[in-house]
Structures are given as C-alpha cells and as structure tokens.
Symmetry: C2
Subunit: 522 residues, 2 copies
C-alpha cells in the first residue's frame, strides 16, 4: 500500500511562478492539490498562509502537504518543504470518561510512535459523567472542566513528544473518539440537554476544529477531527469502534459489544447496522463491590476454583499480593463459584459448599478471597451477597439487551459470524466465564474476538487512511438506533436472565449440566 497516497500527506512539485504565470502562492498550491485529490474546494487557514510564500520559495516549490477532508470540503492543515526532515505527526485520542489514551502517529508512514494513557483529569469533579455535567451547568463550570482535560492532554503531549524526540509543533492533526458527553465537555459545548428528556446533544456531526480554538497544543494550524455521534447515548467512540472492527464491511452478520457501565451494542453487516445502548450497571467493570477496582498491579484478574477441593486460586496482575478485583476477575470468580457449586443458580452463596470461606456480618453473607494477612491492604478481601446480586443484575441486563436487539432484527445468536468484544475492559474478559454466568450467548469461543481499545484503533485509522474517514460517514448514516423500551417483555427476559446461566439452561448447552443440577439442588 502506498501510504503517502492513501493517507493524508501529499507530495507536490509546482511550476514556479513567472511573469507569464503569476498565480498567487496559495492558489497555485491549491490548484495542484485539487488536481491530485479531485477536490472542488480546499480551504486553508491564515497561520498556514502566513508561512506559505517563504516556504514555497525556500523549498524550490516542492512541498509535502497534509490535507484532510472536512465535511465534504477539503482543508490544507500543514505544509512542509519536500526535503524537510521533520515529519507530520497526528494523535489518535480515546477520550474516555475514566481513562484517556493517546497514540502518537507518524502521518507519513502510518506508524504508531508512542502510546500513553492517563486518568481523565475531570475525575475529581466526579467519577461519573452525570456529576460532571451538573458541574458544567454554568459557563464557568463548563470552561473549568474543559480546561482540566485540555491541560491534561497538553501535558501528556509534552511528555510523549519529549520521550519520542518529536516537537509538539509537529503535531498537526488530532482524531478524537469519545462518548457524546465527553466530547461536549472537551469542546465546552453545553451538555445540559444530553441527560434530560428527550436527550439532545448540541451537535452530532461537526467539521474539524482549530486546535487553538480550544487551547490544544500542536502546530499553529493544527485541527481536531471529532468522530460524529449518533445521539446522546451512542457516541463517536462507538462509531470509531465499528470502523475498527470492520463489521460494517462484512457479508455475514456480526455483533459488537462494548461492555461497561453502559452496554453498547451494534449488530449488522455491510448492508445494515442496528445499534442500542442500555445501562448494564457498573458491576461488570468491577466498580461496585468494596474491593472492586480497575486493572493494575496486585489486582485479581483471574480466579480458578478447584471443583473438588473448592480451593480458590487467585491470579493477580504482576503476581503481587492481592489488593482488589477487577471486572474480568469478578466474572471469572462468579463463573468459578457457580461451577464449583459455591453459589446456586440464583447466585446465592451455598453454605455447605463454601465452608469456612463463608462469613457473615450484619446479616450480610460474604465469601472471603483473601484474609487480612494475605492481602496487600492488610484487610480481608471479600465479595458479599450484595456484590454478587449486583453482578447478576448487570449480566442479566447485558444478556437481555443482546437478546432484545437480536430478536428485534429477526436473527438468532447463531447467526453471528463474529462476536466482537470491545473496550479495554472487554479485552480482559474470559469469554468462557462470561458464557458460564450467562452474560453472553453460548457461542463457540472462536466466535468471540476481543478488539482491545477499538475506540483508539478507529481514531488511528482515520488519521492514516482516507478510505477510513469516508467509512465513518457511511457508518453513521447507516446506523438505526433502537430505543430500548423497558416494557413488560423486556422485564420478563431480564427476570429469566437473572439466573446462572439462565432459567432456560438449554440456551447454554456448553455450561456443565452436572454443576447446574448440583447448584440447583442445594
């Protein structure tokens, strides 16, 4: 693949001006770019224009241009001398509510140069987006919360560039993928109506934004592309994820699920895309139990329980003494508790099988994973019946959402060629465990494919491929958004899914019936 040509950097050599051809500098360059890009209009900002006359002459009229398609028009975003050894860089941004991930990309080769992540600096305002939206209800609040993310990003740019030997001024383009609310807070657009019926964003589809207009570092003509939203609860991060998965290009039907507090689901193929989103609850992210936490050193990420001895073996990240449990650890734990008969099909802790691991205080039963002397915190690590119930509601919500959208479009789970699991968290889920607890359908494990950070992946694609950008608009326009009605039918399905793995075990034939019976009989 000729990267230079399918990407956004174009080399041009111009005929120098003469008395017989005294076309202006910018017009001369743009005329040639129009030819090469088959573009009708190419816009150019003042900061670039100011450099252009000297640059063209010093380069002998041989230059490299960074262009970008902006809502159907084109825009010249950067120009360098043909022999300038410096490089056009871009940054793909996964603008998460909790974590922000940046990938520095050489726009001329398409290569990733560096990747870094940092906690969203808005977290102190509120860990969840609702608190931040309330904080942003005044102009000052909105500006302050924008400053937090922009300043944080700029500081990371500085560090990332220093580590990579890149000048911040060589960052010419950003592609930002985030949920609708985060994008509003990033651009200081009032987010008020996103969370109030009928849930209206300020904008879904926008052009590229001058980076300096919101204070983001980079070249003086740097621009920011923001993935379009479908709506308040279906953001550009999911469009980006679909792009990255490629499900919109396939003949067969695939499904893409972003597992988190909100479960976002897209189902479709090259002809149609159906999406929905619903609250699955924070339990799936490990955000509910007292010891629940995001993945990190010392965090329990895998659990195995010997079905004979019922000994609980914990695996922690970096194999340090345990200090908490992440979402994938919780799902593993739940599956293992179930398979070993330590919880029954309703998710209730079974006395006889839990042995001395089972404790009780204030009428709440809990299963101890590590005693105080075994843990990194010096405190007992345990999961209570309340935590388990919460996880079961979350997994049931997830399954019900999957069931609802699948039935809505008139297909069955068996029609899925691929079941994409997106999101950093999703990548760590053991599909076998998720099937065991009935959170996801009982499909062959090879059907499941984890995408990693698909939001970041899609942003990186847009930075390096013109075709990818064109696909974004096509994806957005093709998505039908299904509003999930929490009606009686939905509630019936949800109730049925609140069992392990389900009230109807024939839906989960691969989950050992032996244990099901065992658990069911206690």
């Amino acid at each position: 693949m000729n990267k230079t040509h399918s990407g956004w950097v174009i080399s041009v050599r111009l005929t120098p001006p003469s008395l017989k051809d005294n076309t202006a500098d910018a017009d001369r360059l743009i005329h040639e770019l129009k030819n090469q890009l088959s573009a009708d209009i190419i816009d150019i900002d003042l900061p670039l224009l100011r450099h252009l006359p000297a640059l063209l002459r010093e380069s002998g009229y041989a230059v490299r241009c960074l262009c970008f398609k902006d809502q159907g028009c084109w825009r010249l975003v950067g120009v360098k001398a043909g022999d300038d050894p410096s490089i056009f860089f871009g940054v793909a941004v996964d603008l998460g509510t909790t974590r922000v991930v940046l990938r520095l990309i050489n726009l001329e080769t398409g290569d990733a140069v560096h990747e870094t992540a940092f906690d969203n600096p808005q977290i102190p305002i509120g860990p969840d987006i609702l608190a931040r939206i309330h904080f942003a209800s005044t102009d000052e609040g909105l500006k302050a919360i924008q400053r937090l993310i922009v300043d944080g990003m700029n500081e990371q740019f500085r560090q990332m560039c220093e580590l990579s030997g890149v000048r911040v001024a060589d960052i010419h383009f950003l592609a930002v993928s985030g949920n609708t609310s985060m994008v509003h807070l990033f651009l200081a657009l009032p987010p008020h109506h996103i969370i109030r019926e009928p849930y209206i964003p300020a904008i879904n589809v926008m052009g590229t934004i001058p980076a300096k207009d919101i204070g983001v570092s980079g070249s003086d003509a740097a621009r920011i592309y923001v993935f379009p939203n479908v709506g308040s609860y279906f953001g550009g991060d999911l469009i980006s994820g679909i792009l990255y998965s490629g499900l919109h290009r396939r003949d067969e039907i695939s499904i893409l699920v972003d597992v988190g507090t909100n479960a976002e689901v897209v189902l479709g193929n090259k002809d149609w895309l159906m999406a929905c989103a619903g609250a699955a609850g924070p339990a799936l992210e490990g955000g509910v139990s007292k010891i629940g936490t995001t993945a990190g050193p010392g965090v329990i990420d895998r659990v195995v329980i010997d079905p004979e001895t019922r000994r609980i073996a914990l695996h922690t990240i970096d194999e340090l003494p345990p200090r908490g449990i992440c979402g994938s650890g919780m799902i593993d734990l739940m599956a293992q508790l179930f398979l070993s008969g330590m919880v029954d099909i309703r998710g209730r802790l079974v006395d006889v099988n839990c042995g001395d691991r089972l404790r009780e205080a204030d009428g709440i039963r809990r299963i101890v994973l590590a005693d105080a002397h075994e843990s990194a915190t010096g405190r007992e690590l345990s999961i209570s019946q309340v935590d388990i119930d919460s996880l079961i509601r979350s997994k049931a919500a997830m399954y019900t959402i999957l069931e609802t959208i699948t039935r809505y479009v008139g297909v069955t789970f068996d029609d899925f060629a691929t079941f994409f699991v997106a999101g950093t968290f999703g990548s760590f889920i053991n599909p076998r465990s998720a099937i065991t607890i009935g959170m996801i359908p009982d499909l062959p494990e090879t059907t499941y494919q984890t995408l990693g950070n698909s939001s970041l992946g899609g942003a990186a694609l847009v930075l390096t491929s013109r075709a990818a950008l064109d696909e974004v608009a096509a994806i957005r326009d093709r998505i039908t958004y299904l509003e999930l009605n929490v009606n009686q039918e939905f509630m019936n399905r949800f109730s049925a899914a609140k069992f392990l793995p389900h009230t109807n075990p024939s839906l989960f034939p691969s989950v050992s019936v032996c244990n099901l019976n065992l658990a069911g009989l206690t």
Copy 2:
C-alpha cells in the same frame, strides 16, 4: 424584493425534539437550513454552537439565522431568537491605502445605517504602500502594521456603533474590499513578493476568516469576507467596483477606470472582461506638486480662467482661503491654462499669455495661483513647469493605457456605451477638463458616469445580496488580465499623448481648435 430571502438572513421554525426525533440541536437547525438554501454543507463555528442549545429552547425553536456562502460551502455565522429585537449588522469596508471607509448595514433590511471614513492608520509608517511593505518585511513589522489598521478599525466600530445605537457584538459580518497589498497587511500575510518580479500575492481567493483570528471586533463568531484579487496589481477593490458598476451584466461594451497613482482599467460586457493596470503617476491625485493635496476645506477643486482677461478664478472647498490644490483642481487648472493659451500644446508656460502670474527662480518657471497674502498658508501657491510636466506624463500614461487596451480587444472608444469613472477622486474630475487635456477620450459627456466609492458600493452589495456574491466569483473568473508591455509601440503612443490634448487633434474634435492654434503658434 423580499430582502430576507435574497439576503443572508433566513427565518426558520423547527419542530422541537422529542423522544421520537432526538436529532441534535445543530444538526436539526442545519438540516432545515440546508433545505431552505439548497445547500449540501453548512459549517458552524464553536462559539455559535455553544449558544445554540439555550437559544433554541428559549426561542421556542423559531430563530433567525445569518448564513453566508463560503467558497461554495455555506457557513452559519449568527443565530438570534425569532423575536429578539436586536438586529444582525454587517460592515462594508473600503480598505484604501490612504482612506478607509466603513458603512454599517442592517443585514435584515439591507439599509445603510451609518457611514464613516478615517485615514489609514498605517500612513505614519509610509504614505505609499511600498514603504509599508518594506516595514512589514519582518514578522514583528507585519504584525505591528496589521495592529494599526485593526485597532483603528475597532475604534471606528466602537464610535460608529455608539452613534447608531448598535452593539458592537451585533456586527456579525464584514465584507472587505481593498487592493492586494492592503489586504495582505490587514490579514498579516507576508506582502514581500507582491512587489518583486514576478509579483506574486500569498493568496488571491480565500474563504471567510474568523474576525477574532485577526482581532477585529464583532460577535464572537463574526466572519470576514475578503474580495478575491486577480493579482498583485489588480485587487479585490476593483472586482468590487466592477460588481457595483454592473458592466459585467450589460450587453454593450463599457469601460471602468479607477484613476489614481495606478490607473486600473476594465473593459467588457456580459460575455468578457479585459483588465489592465499601469502606473499613471501620482500627479493625477494631486500628489506631486508642492501644493498638491487631497480634497478638504480650503483646497482648490475648480479653476476657471477667463480666455479674454486670463484672470484665474479659484474655487475652494467650503470657499475658504486656498491652501492647496487637489487632483481634480489640477486637471481643471491644466485644461483652463491650455484653453486660455497660457500653456502651449507641449504644456509649456507661454510668457506672453501668463503676464505677471509667471515667475521664475533657479531656472524653474512657475505660474502663481495665489500670492502669499491671499493664501491660507501665508505662502505663495504656485504650480511649476515641473509639476505641469509631471501631470502631462500622467495624463499621457492614462490615455495610452486606455488606447492600448481598447485596441488590444479590437474596439474603439466610440464603442463604449458607458465610461465609468470610479474612486472617490475620480468622482470629482470634471470630464470636460479631462477631455480637454487629452487624459480621457473625446466622448459625449453623457457617456461618462461617476460611480463614487464603487469599492465600498460593491462590498455593501455582497453584504445584502446572495446574487451579488455569486457574481464576484463569475467576474473574477471571467477577467483576462492584460500585462502592459512598455514596448516601442506603447512608447510611441505615449509620446503622441504627451501633447495637449494630443499630437493628433482630430482625436479630440470637441476641444476648441482656435485655442489649439493659438497655443501652437506662440
């Protein structure tokens, strides 16, 4: 004419959002505008987006929108509630090297509200553009000279708005018409190559510019439209002038002449436009003789010499004691001196006819218009033989340019249906006098039509009419620019034109032969 519809302000009433139609605010508005404007793309800047959610809800989804076509795309520049009594204002700007003229326009009715003019604050850097371009050869110089004009403009905006009871924040759009160099200095684009062979501007055709990007006051999303240039020596002010004259819409051939230091000429009709520009010399503007000055109180603007007594009667502006002479006064004077036989056909002062008005010092002869005791300055006001020679070279250059372009396109002066004289200065010229000295062709005086400030007039048109903006692009694209080659043929014509009115008096049948003979015989 339905002003609202042919102009840039569109009223729209939107269906409010609902759970069944949760299109984002901006997308909802833009969708409706696209329908009304038959536009493919409508861009919107962040500052407007930030106001939009509250504005739509407070207005009950009935709003007035200021839109503008930007290089083929559309742009939303302002939004107000439908019942907001405040008004969208625009400013038409004639960005002259010497004078800057502003006209405040109500964009909803098209009415001019106020007009004001001020000396270009860059004059202290250099009265002529060359000195300013040299000053702007460093980044700091360029920025400083831009600041001068922008600060001056902002101060005038403030005063103009105060006088008119308009808020500066209600200025949403500017249309700026200026020569290529002035536009470069206004936008801080490096002007260096404009004045060096092969004379290349940084840009000829540009999109609208955010006013805040160059520090111009107005609404926070205000934009500036700058008329496109044809080249370094044919600026947007002339495109604007053509637009205002309407010669590009006529069946018959007309000619438009902007008389100044540079003579700019456009010839054509609805099918073709041919343009050229050439140095005519500052003499025509009254900028050469020691007493030459721009029009103002006490400045000689008309001269009558009694052919019998040869008494010189001066008319001054506001009928104050004379302090100088302006360009139109010089042309009048020259014509009267010639008709009264006080100069001969070569423009030489004739002793016998000048009487005691003729003085001489250091070998240079001069004709006295006012003795020291008669003038406002307390010094003698006189025109020297050197001044006269300079004026004759200028008028000869003008005539030669007119002759050259007319012959080039294969027509004659008699083919002109209208001879438009543009520019503030041009408006004051007495065509009869200009014909008498052979500066302009000997056409019936009714053929001559003064346009006043056509550059400002064209800018005002663009602010109030969509059709006018479309015409600008058509005019620019249709103009063929004729590079004047100062070759032997040109020099021959120039030599022939250095007589009063011409070596070939049959070209000027209306100029009294009697006097010609008289003058020729001395």
